[in-house]
């Protein structure tokens, strides 16, 4: 068995190294002694015999080394040696090592932190079993970009029972669930769902159980399952919550289980599993979201063929439910619940990638300039028999050591950086289930990145240094005329790249800054200060219809208005400047042509315009009488007038809203225009103002946002206002109590600010590193050309000439860097376009200011070494010759 023997020999040579080496010595000594003995017997004297024997034998040391090589462990030994040597040489240049490690750590920190966000939010956000086979059913019209994923309970049951493509189908909702627990009623975020939800999602409970078959039996006791966060907050993670009764929406339910932390399906505090029946609206649920687990191997086309007849039947039964021309298909889970941050995160990841490259270029540069001082050492090693490969390996080992230290430090810093990033993430922009942390996959990524960077920054300098000409390096001092010019051109190339990439980063940051300024400085048309907003989601059980709801609010409004510190109060179905979600096409009887684009609808109380400071242009505002009678009056904004009455007078004209007939069950869908108000932002801050119709809230009683204009700090009044609701109905919770400016902050400003702050930080780091790069290369050149400068001065050059000399040298990197950077940022701006608003990606102001910035910091970096050059004393410089 040759291979077992081979293996045994290998092991032996590993563990008996010293003995084997001794034996090798003995073996060779024996050989020499034999030869000497033979030589003596041939008539030589002892000394001659020994010399002759050594001559025919050749280089004994080399022979031993080559013999040891065949034992096979030399490679390993050499690597260990390289590491020891590398550590020693890093210790010898502590300044160099610190700068290099710090640069890398900055780059790796930023990359690791961003990657952990991307991994948690985009790549692996959901904890459910095989997320890729979870699909929503989407119905859309080819004419519109909108699609629908929600279905009535009856439609859901029809699809769930008749389809053949899903293994399991579940319904879910985001519902207000009122928990009456004795004290103040609490509104919980509930998910009224089908019994099979937990099986289809494929996640076992943390404690207790999920619904079983018996729970679906008629007359079985009602159950509830808790979400982890809610369980921790309300019950402090107490397992004895199992079996406890909770009165949820007036039904007493037994808690049977608690889900694990990342199970946040529809972000629920509490899961209310029920059995859905046709024609019943249990728990006030009319619409549900449908999610199915696809059977393996079902294609998109098969799914469409399977679902098409079902939807066709549903449409036949209720023609208004689906558009005239419709298509049906599947929508993947990740597309159904996307993160609004996805695109921004990839852009930021690109930015940190560039930052890392700049850091690499910088370290590369440092290594190159260090190679100059190490030329003699390297030449010496080469002359002692080190091959080029061996030298390269040795230098790369040093790079790996640098990047390992940089990686460890960077990963440690990333924990802090991630905390800062997460604190800035706009609310509600990442899936509830997402877990963003620096965990194993992220650290593996960091490890990989560290090694790739070591190759990136280490390979070129290693190749370069190992190419050193033996003889010249040994003979010449490093200071000779013209020495190292090749090196300067190599590192000059790196500096050009650094300047170019930092310019791209700074341009991105400046474009985002201008976008944020454009968003924040625009006029919204409404007041945003002194406004307190509160949502009063009336329970569908106790306030089942419009009149009940209207009665409640009609009592609430005067109570709030009469509070001390309150100037005015109003109700609406959604507040400016946010998009309220209610849109419908309108018809103008007797109008010139049909315009089927939808207009915004907002049901408001009398003082809504006064509270927000929306100015009346013509006609009148709503009156108490309008509200009392639920009269069919409407107020429109200017955009509405521009679209529907470009040439005629709108006041007194009628507007029909056919959709209201279905959705609100209105007998009459015609409204008469009584007033025209100023245009104000009504679909968020980055979409243009849409035509809008204001209607009296008493037509449906659906308005549940209370907006209070205060005379003082609005936040201070939140308790007193909420108390008015409790006074009317102790079981009625209030939610979302906050000022309008904090809403604006969270929903409109925090997104762009998130990108701008991170981009600015990355750009600042990149620029700093690039400036350090320019400084390094220029000051190195000055140091090497001290002699030349001295000669020039001796020949009559003044300080101005020297300054020009240094600046001309610096310009050789800065100017091409800026040119390349400009071209690159024009290409890169295309990626950024989706994030920009009212700013062109080629915004001349941004481009020019960035070029000026780079020129100034670039030449500032030359200025410091230039001053050193100007102070060169010709006598001193020449004396060295």
């Amino acid at each position: 068995m040759a291979w077992t023997r081979r293996f045994w020999l290998k092991l032996q040579s590993l563990f008996r190294r010293n003995r084997n080496a001794q034996q090798l010595n003995d073996e060779i000594q024996f050989h020499l002694d034999q030869q000497i003995a033979e030589n003596i017997s041939a008539g030589m004297n002892r000394e001659e015999a020994r010399h002759a024997a050594m001559r025919v034998f050749g280089n004994a040391t080399l022979t031993k080394e080559q013999a040891r090589d065949t034992w096979g462990w030399n490679q390993l030994e050499q690597i260990a040696q390289d590491f020891r040597y590398g550590l020693r040489s890093l210790r010898k240049g502590p300044g160099f090592s610190a700068v290099a490690i710090l640069s890398l750590a900055l780059g790796i920190m930023a990359t690791t932190a961003m990657y952990s966000v991307i991994y948690g939010v985009v790549l692996n956000p959901f904890p459910y079993r095989d997320v890729d086979s979870l699909m929503s059913v989407k119905v859309w019209s080819p004419d519109s970009s909108r699609f629908r994923l929600g279905y009535t309970v009856d439609q859901f049951l029809e699809i769930a029972e008749r389809n053949t493509i899903f293994q399991g189908t579940i319904a879910s909702t985001v519902s207000d669930v009122v928990w009456a627990s004795g004290g103040e009623p609490k509104r919980l975020r509930g998910n009224v769902c089908t019994m099979n939800t937990f099986d289809v999602m494929g996640v076992p409970p943390l404690i207790g159980r999920t619904p079983a078959k018996a729970d679906s039996a008629p007359g079985a006791p009602a159950v509830a399952v808790l979400g982890y966060k809610f369980w921790m907050q309300q019950f402090g993670g107490d397992p004895s919550v199992l079996g406890r009764s909770m009165r949820l929406n007036d039904t007493v339910r037994t808690v049977i289980g608690v889900m694990p932390p990342r199970f946040m399906w529809r972000g629920a505090d509490v899961y209310v599993p029920i059995v859905f029946h046709r024609g019943e609206f249990l728990e006030g649920v009319h619409y549900v979201h449908l999610l199915g687990r696809l059977k393996p191997g079902v294609t998109e086309a098969q799914a469409e063929t399977d679902l098409r007849p079902i939807i066709a039947d549903l449409k036949q039964r209720d023609p208004a439910a689906f558009p005239e021309k419709w298509r049906v298909g599947l929508l993947s889970f990740k597309e159904t619940f996307p993160s609004g941050l996805r695109e921004v995160l990839w852009i930021l990841f690109g930015a940190v990638g560039m930052l890392l490259l700049i850091a690499c270029a910088n370290v590369s540069n440092l290594l190159l300039s260090r190679a100059a001082t190490r030329q003699r050492e390297i030449a010496l090693r080469a002359s002692l028999g080190a091959t080029r490969g061996r030298l390269i390996r040795q230098l790369l080992t040093e790079s790996v050591l640098l990047s390992t230290f940089g990686g460890v430090l960077g990963a440690a810093l990333a924990f802090g950086a991630l905390r800062v990033i997460l604190a800035m993430v706009p609310p509600d922009s990442i899936p509830d289930e997402a877990k963003v942390a620096i965990d194993r996959p992220v650290l593996l990524f960091t490890l990989g990145i560290s090694f790739v960077t070591a190759l990136l920054f280490g390979l070129a300098p290693a190749l370069h240094a190992s190419r050193a000409q033996l003889i010249t390096a040994l003979k010449e001092s490093a200071r000779g005329p013209g020495a190292g010019f090749r090196r300067i051109s190599a590192s000059g190339g790196l500096v050009v790249v650094e300047v170019a990439m930092s310019l791209v980063l700074v341009v991105g940051a400046v474009l985002m800054m201008r976008t944020v300024m454009a968003i924040e400085n625009q006029s919204l048309g409404i007041r945003t200060d002194r406004l307190l907003t509160i949502r009063v989601p009336l329970s569908p059980q106790r306030y089942p219809d419009g009149p009940h709801r209207t009665t409640f609010f009609r009592e609430l409004l005067p109570r709030v208005e009469n509070l001390p510190g309150v100037a005015s109060a109003a109700l609406s179905t959604g507040m400016h400047p946010f998009f309220a979600g209610m849109e419908a096409p309108v018809e103008i009887p007797g109008g010139p042509q049909m315009d089927t684009r939808p207009v915004l609808l907002r049901e408001v109380s009398r003082d809504y315009m006064r509270v927000f400071g929306i100015a009346l242009m013509e006609g009148r505002l709503f009156s108490d009488a309008d509200m009392a009678a639920a009269s069919q009056w409407a107020i429109v904004n200017q955009s509405f007038v521009h679209r529907y009455f470009p040439s005629s007078a709108p006041l007194g004209r009628m507007v029909r809203i056919p959709r209201l007939r279905d959705e609100l069950h209105l007998a009459d869908d015609a409204f008469q225009i009584v007033g025209i108000v100023n245009d104000v932002m009504n679909r968020g801050l980055t979409r243009e103002i849409a035509p809008e119709l204001y209607l009296p809230y008493t037509i449906s009683g659906d308005a549940d946002f209370l907006v209070v204009l205060t005379n003082t700090d609005p936040a201070a009044l939140s308790k007193t206002v909420a108390a008015q609701v409790y006074a009317l109905d102790p079981d009625q919770p209030v939610t979302d109590v906050r000022t309008l400016s904090s809403r604006l902050n969270d929903w409109e400003y925090s997104g762009p600010r998130f990108s701008v702050v991170l981009l600015a930080v990355f750009a600042a780091l990149g620029l700093t590193l690039a400036v350090v790069g320019v400084y390094g290369v220029v000051s190195n050149a000055v140091a090497q050309r001290t002699h030349e400068i001295g000669v020039r001065k001796a020949l009559g050059a003044d300080s101005g000439d020297v300054l020009r000399l240094v600046f001309r040298f610096g310009a050789r990197f800065i100017l091409p860097g800026i040119a390349i950077g400009l071209a690159a940022s024009i290409a890169a701006a295309r990626v950024l376009r989706s994030q920009l608003w009212h700013v062109s990606p080629h915004d001349p102001v941004a481009l020019v200011s960035v070029v000026v910035l780079l020129l100034s910091v670039g030449f500032l970096a030359c200025w410091v070494p230039a001053r050193r050059a100007m102070r060169v004393d010709p006598i001193v410089a020449l004396r060295y010759e």
Binding site: R5, F30, T63, T70
Partner: protein
């Protein structure tokens, strides 16, 4: 890895295997024997023998044993293993094929 002077590596292997085929020999004896048989034509730098010996030992074609020589000193004696014997036959066959081919080329031109 070192190269033996003037000798292709594989050739040196063949010579070593052939030399120790009849009986175990120590390094110096192998060097002498190669010199003798080749009538001093093959000038092997003696030192280069040892890396080759160790390599063959790692391949398990030869094995080594410390034994006393006739002068009473300890020396390392190399002998063929079964695998080595097979290898020797293969390389010898290769060699004769190659050399006769070269002969053919050299003589016909």
């Amino acid at each position: 890895m070192g190269k033996p002077n003037d000798l292709v590596q594989g050739t040196l292997d063949l010579l070593i295997l052939k030399t120790i085929a009849p009986e175990p020999k120590h390094g110096w004896a192998i060097a002498k024997r190669i010199q003798q048989i080749s009538r001093d034509v093959l000038q092997v730098q003696q030192g280069s023998l040892y890396p080759a010996l160790h390599r063959l030992e790692q391949k398990a074609w030869i094995k080594a044993k410390w034994k006393e020589t006739e002068t009473g000193r300890q020396a390392k004696f190399y002998s063929l293993t079964a695998a080595g014997r097979a290898q020797l036959e293969k390389e010898a066959a290769n060699w004769s094929r190659l050399s006769s081919a070269i002969n053919l080329v050299v003589e016909t031109t």
